[in-house]
Amino acid sequence: MSQTATKPIPVPDEISAPFFDGAREGRLMLQHCTACNAWSFPVRERCPHCFAAKLEWRQASGHGSLYTFTIMHQVMNPGFASAVPYNVAQIDLEEGVRMVSNVIGIANDALRVGMRLEVSFEDVGENVRIPKFRPVVG
C-alpha cells in the first residue's frame, strides 16, 4: 500500500458530463424523461421506464432520506486506507431515485435509517466536485 495513494477521482465522460458540470456548480443534476415524466439514475441514454430517448437534465431537489448504509472497514482500494471506517449510504431522493453516496457532517455511529438528508458538494480533485449528503438541521 502506497502511503501517497489518493482516493479515486471520477473522470466525466460524454454522457455524465452534465452531472459533473452541475456538481461543480453546486447543483444536483439528474435525468428526467419528458415523455413519461419519470426521473432516473444512474446516468444513461434512454429512459428505463419508457425507452424514450427524451431524457433532459434537471436540477433535483437534493432532499431525501437515508434508506440504508454500511460502515466500510475493509480496504478495497489503497486510496481508502486512511479513510476507514467510512460510510457508504443509499439515499432515497424525493424524485424517486436511490443514489449511492456518503453521508458527511455526522459521526458514523449517529447514522439512522430514515433520517432526513440534503445534498452537499465536496471537492475531490482539481475542478471535480461530487454530491454527498448531510443531515438536515432542525
Binding site: K7, P8, I9, P10, V11, P12, D13, I15, S16, F19, F41, P42, V43, P48, Y67, T68, F69, T70, I71, M72, H73, Q74, V75, M76, N77, P78, G79, F80, A83, P85, Y86, V88, A89, Q90, D92, L93, G96, V97, R98, M99, V100, S101, N102, V113, G114, V124, I130
Partner: protein, 390 residues
Amino acid sequence: MPNQPKGAIVGIGVTPMGKIYGRRSVDFAAEAIALALDDAGLTKNDIDGLLINANIPGDMDVRSQMVLGFENLTLVNVMSAYGSTAGSMMQYACMAIREGLANTIVLVYADAPLTPSRGAGQSYAGPHRFPLGGMTGLRAAYGDFGANPAYAMAARRHMHLYGTTEDHFGIIAVGQRKWAQLSPWAQMKTPMTMEDHHNSRWIAEPLRLLDCCLVSNGAVAVIVTSAERARDLKQPPVNVLGYAQCAPGDNLRTDRHPAVETGAKRSGEIAFRMAGITRDDIGTCQLYDCYTYTVLVTLEDYGFCAKGEGGPFVADGKLAPGGALPTNTGGGQLSGFYMWAFTPLSEAVVQARGQGGARQVARNDYVLVSGNGGILNYHSTLILSRHASG
C-alpha cells in the same frame, strides 16, 4: 404425463479448492471435467455439449473448448448471470437435450483469482478493476467497491425493518462451519463459535468476516443428460424436476426493496409448481450464500417462514447438523468453497444421491438449490430428486 423430469444429472467433479496457486482456471476445469466423467462412467467422446459459466476474470471464454480438447460439439456457449448462472445453464442444457440438440452436456465453472500476493479481499475488487470514467468513477469516489457494501446495506435494511440481529447471521455461519467439518471438499474446518463470529473483524457493517463467503481457486463440473439415458449410467440419477429464474431489476429506485423481496420469491413459486411439490417436501436446502444474510432472505422469500421472520426462524439452529431443515450441508460458500451456484448444486447432487457420508441428511427425497447473482439481481431455483416426479 405430469412432472416428467426435465433432465438428469449423472456426474459431478469437484477439484481441490482454495489457495492452490500456479494453475489456470481452464486447468482446474479440465480436472473437474475428468472427475465428473469418471464419476458418471462416461468418456470424453460421449460429450457433445459444453456450457461454460463466465467467471469474473473472464478467462473461461468459449475458446476453452479447444484447450479442453472437446471435438464436434453440437452445443457450446458461455453463460453469465453471475452467481445464478448454474441454474440458467441447467435450464438450457435440459431444454437442448429434450429438443435433440445434444445428448450429454458438461456444465463447468472454474476460477483462479487467488495468487500468493492477492488475497480474497482484493481478488474480486482490486483497484485494477475500477476504471474512473463517469458513473463507475463516481461509485469509486464514494468508496463503493465490489459486492460487500451493497449486501451490507441490504442486511442493514432488513435489520431495521424486522429486528434481525447479528446473532441471527452468526447462527447461520456457525451451523455451516459444523457442516464443513463433515465435508471432504470444504476449505474451512476449524470449529467456529458465536463468539468467534462476533469477534471476527468488520468487513462492511453489519457484515463481519465470518458473514462473508470464501474465495476459491478450483472448478466444478456437472454432467447432464436425459432421464432415460441416465438410468443406464454408473450413478443413481438425480432428476431435475423444476427450474426457474427471476431477475427483479434495478434496485436503485425508491420503489424497489431488495430486503423485502428478492427474485427467490417468484423463481421459487414457479419451480415448486413445475416440480409438483411444496416446501414441506424439501428435506434439505442448498442455498446460495455469498453472505449469511443471503441465506436468511432466501429462506423467507421461498416461504419457509413469513417475511421478516428469517432471524427467529434460523435462531434455533435448524439449519445445522441435527436441525429440522439441514441447509448448506457441505459448508456452503461461507465455509466449504466458493464456486458460485456450483457450490450448492454439487452438494445437492451428493445429498440427492445419498452419498453424503457423515453429512448425509435423512430426508433427501427433494433438494432445493438456489443461485443468486449481482446484488440480489439474478435468481435461479432448481428442484432435484432421485424420484422421477413430484
